[in-house]
């Protein structure tokens, strides 16, 4: 007896984007930096801009982002990625330039640089990972750390009387006239991840259209330094972060809504 053979044609439904290198990353299990990387890479692929993209890595857990993105890349000093990106973009306006920064990088040491890149309306895209903590240095308080949140440098929980209040960067930067598109998204479930990708896509399209500065803030998990399991950490984003950091656009300049509607 000869068994009947059915040949099922292989269909690739999920593959590594070309803009992401085939290398292991150093991120902890359950860290959402990896998801953010993948979304950016998918968008670069879809827009067909990988070979003219220059990424600027931060100092923070994403310090090696240049090893993971399959694009030209460089490593900025802590907080200075927007200044570095400005230098790159001004001498190479046809390049697609993006910074990828954490909350310590962008909202503490690099506050001046991010505000002024937005104020100048610099044609770059910023991916901002808000994980409410300094991940790389082992879990100290960030400007985005929530009231009462325990960190290594707020061991009794963040006391707003002593340390002030968490900074809402998307709202702050949304007020800058030079910013074309500023939004906050989250990476805590599939629906939000899909929305985050759309936002990242818009942010790069804004750059391609020359409309000005674009930033996507992404609420992210750091299970390692939050001292939570991965499911707990994901839940914590939804329960604790989202109420303080409302999701949605804080700036949509003229011309951007048209880009958002395009497929």
């Amino acid at each position: 007896m000869v068994a009947a053979e059915t040949v099922i044609e292989e269909q690739v439904v999920y593959a590594r984007p070309e803009s992401l290198r085939d290398v292991p990353t150093h991120y902890c299990p359950g860290c959402t930096h990896g998801i953010a990387h993948r979304l950016v890479a998918e968008v670069l692929d879809e827009l067909g801009v990988r070979s003219r993209t220059i990424g600027v890595s931060p100092v923070g857990c994403a310090v090696f982002a240049y090893k993971y993105f399959n694009t030209d890349g460089c490593e900025a000093a802590h907080g200075r990625a927007p200044a570095m990106a400005t230098g790159i973009k001004r001498v190479n306006p046809s390049a697609v330039v993006f910074t990828y920064q954490g909350d310590g990088d962008l909202a503490a040491i690099g506050t001046a640089e991010i505000i002024h890149v937005a104020s100048r309306g610099e044609n770059i895209t910023t991916i901002f990972i808000n994980n409410a903590i300094y991940g790389m240095t082992g879990g100290q308080m960030a400007p985005t750390t929530l009231p009462g949140q325990y960190t290594k440098s707020s061991p009794g929980g963040r006391d707003v009387e002593l340390t002030g209040f968490p900074m809402r960067m998307a709202e702050l930067l949304g007020t800058m006239p030079g910013a074309a598109y500023v939004t906050r998204r989250s990476l805590h479930n599939v629906k939000e991840i899909n929305k985050a990708k759309k936002a990242i896509r818009t942010a790069f399209k804004v750059q391609l259209a020359g409309l000005g500065f674009a930033m996507v803030e992404l609420l992210s998990a750091c299970p390692t330094n939050w001292g939570l399991s991965v499911p707990e950490a994901i839940q914590w984003i939804e329960d604790v972060m989202v109420p303080y950091y409302p999701l949605g656009d804080t700036k949509v300049a003229d011309g951007v809504d048209a880009l958002m509607k395009e497929r």
Binding site: S51, D72, C74, A83, G87, V91
Partner: protein, 356 residues
């Protein structure tokens, strides 16, 4: 090109433009502001990049970015602004990209004042950022030399993929002198083969100063040091006058060197065998020539507009063979030739065999 009357700061700016600078990023500070202002007008006119940045920290990191993209980039500032740029200097040196920085030095420490000074000698030659390296440092003494060294600065930066300083002081920045600018060089048509331009048809390029593996970082440092040894070998620059038969050689750079020249000439008129040695590259310090002079002179007199910083380098070059004396003014005070003359006279009288 014709000789014209040019202000030091403007001459530096225009020389950089002629040398092919593609991007300038800066922040206002006296006494270098005219340089930034000249760039503000000229760079956009020529379709090149100009930004008045939010700080010197941002300026130098913009320079770093533009340099990574393969453009000839520069910034300029004065002492307090140079302090703020230290972080960027280190990253630029560590990732081996070319960049040019002008420091029109003023009196310090702290906010100090806006008068001419040379008090950044240590900062630019020794500690322009953390880590093991020296930047190339060029010190002009006239507006013409400022122009010539500005052009050279870009060529050296490119040649060695390294950080190059042109250091002047407020006096040189502010004074007007007849000088000749070079012809306009065409901009480079292509970016260098290491630059970040987008990975079209090639493997991605990475520019970083990060290397977590200690043995690998030691190798990076060894390579950097080897480059610096080559620079030391080939780029020692100086000017000298009347040193052939000199018993006493005055050593001074920039404005101090120029003022010392007047004093040295006066001493010659008075029959003293005095010469002048003026370092043009502060790093690499022209120690080879100076130590040869040390073999045959009786003493050195170092003149600086600071508390004695290059003095250390002169002592090293002299190698303990001859006494090294010092005369300096601080806090934005500029010596007049007469005071230097008196220092020469005083030291000369003490030389062995002198009648005094």
């Amino acid at each position: 090109m014709a000789v014209e009357l040019l202000k030091g700061n403007v001459a530096l700016a225009e020389a950089a433009i002629r040398a092919g600078v593609e991007a300038y990023f800066g922040y206002p500070i006296t006494p270098q502001t005219e340089l930034l202002e000249h760039m503000a007008k000229r760079m956009p006119e020529l379709g090149r990049a100009f930004i008045q940045a939010e700080s010197e920290l941002a300026s130098i990191n913009m320079v770093y970015g533009a340099a990574c993209a393969g453009a000839r980039a520069m910034t300029s500032s004065s002492s307090p602004g140079i302090s703020l740029m230290q972080e960027g200097f280190s990253y630029i040196a560590g990732s081996e990209v070319p960049a040019v920085v002008v420091d029109v030095m003023r009196g310090g420490p702290g906010l100090g004042n806006i008068q001419p000074s040379q008090s950044d000698y240590f900062q630019v030659t020794r500690s322009a950022g953390h880590g093991d390296y020296h930047a190339i440092v060029l010190a002009p003494a006239s507006v013409q030399e400022a122009i010539d060294l500005m052009v050279l600065a870009f060529d050296l930066a490119d040649k060695y993929r390294h950080l190059v300083f042109v250091v002047a002081d407020g006096l040189l920045g502010q004074m007007m002198e007849p000088a000749e600018l070079p012809p306009m060089r065409p901009l480079r048509s292509e970016r260098p083969d290491w630059a970040l331009t987008g990975a079209r048809g090639r493997e991605p390029r990475i520019i970083t100063s990060l290397e977590l593996d200690a043995p690998a970082l030691e190798e990076v440092n060894k390579r950097l040091q080897a480059k610096l040894r080559v620079i030391e070998e080939h780029e020692q620059r100086y000017a000298e006058q009347m040193v052939e038969d000199a018993r006493l050689v005055v050593v001074g750079y920039g404005t101090a060197g120029r003022i010392a020249q007047t004093a040295v000439k006066q001493a010659r008129r008075e029959g003293m065998k005095v010469g002048l040695f003026r370092p043009i590259s502060l790093w690499p310090f022209p120690e080879r020539r100076l130590s040869r002079l040390a073999d045959r002179v009786d003493a050195f007199l170092v003149v600086e507009m600071n508390a004695g910083q290059m003095l250390d380098d002169v002592k090293l070059a002299a190698g303990g063979q001859v006494p090294v004396d010092f005369y300096g003014r601080m806090g934005g005070m500029v010596p007049v030739p007469e005071e230097i003359y008196q220092a020469i006279e005083g030291l000369y009288a003490k030389l062995p065999g002198s009648l005094s």
